[in-house]
């Protein structure tokens, strides 16, 4: 393959170094968020029994971390390569829309007899739709 006819389809190959740097930060924050969430849930359920200041602080801690993760994701988007940003926006829009359709649509299904589901299911639908549409965008543009 000569250098004028490169046809790379690998999703991570050929990315801008800035994208890599910022997306790694987002990944670290997402991992920290997940760990904080699990730790906070365990502590508030089994360790800190009384409703006091400590329990509130333990409960609020993962929310504070999630705000940090969101700030890093926004920074990643602001600094992203323009094609990366387009793919992210398309995937985020699709994920957001899927979540809205699911949360509003399920209300009708519930009234028709479907079982009541956990509120956080919408977040799971949003995130999984985002991942699916992110892969779709990579196939479309790369």
């Amino acid at each position: 393959m000569n250098k004028y006819s490169m046809a790379h389809n690998e999703p991570n190959e050929g990315r801008h170094s800035r994208d890599g740097k910022y997306s790694i930060n987002v990944l670290y924050w997402a991992i920290l968020w997940a760990i904080s969430h699990l730790a906070s849930t365990a502590l508030t359920r089994w360790v800190v029994s009384d409703m006091n200041v400590i329990k509130w602080l333990v409960a609020v801690w993962p929310i504070a971390v999630s705000i940090g993760a969101l700030r890093h994701f926004m920074r990643y988007l602001e600094n992203a390569d323009e094609l990366t940003r387009k793919m992210e926006f398309e995937s985020l829009s699709a994920g957001y829309g899927s979540g809205i359709i699911f949360s509003v649509g399920y209300v009708s299904l519930e009234s028709a007899g479907m079982p009541v589901i956990f509120l956080g299911s919408t977040a799971a639908v949003m995130m999984s739709s985002y991942v699916v549409f992110r892969f779709r965008a990579a196939r479309k543009y790369l």
Partner: protein
């Protein structure tokens, strides 16, 4: 959008990676533009044109989308 980026790049002996570095975009972006899968933003189109000392119209072809110029109405 049809474009002559690949030809221009070859004429100047530039790899996709080298051109991407000069334009501060990813190699994926250059590849997508060359394959006509992605239309660059206006700032990037200007940067490409200035880099090759050409006009945007000399590099990108919009397929002459039908539009009547304002002065043609009067």
């Amino acid at each position: 959008m049809k474009n002559t980026l690949k030809i221009l790049r070859a004429q100047h002996d530039l790899s996709q990676a080298a051109l991407a570095e000069k334009l501060d975009v990813s190699r994926q972006t250059i590849n997508a533009i060359e394959k006509e899968k992605y239309d660059p933003s206006l700032p990037l189109a200007f940067k490409i044109a200035r880099l090759f000392r050409l006009t945007i119209e000399q590099i990108f072809e919009d397929g002459n989308q039908a539009i009547t110029p304002l002065d043609a109405d009067s």
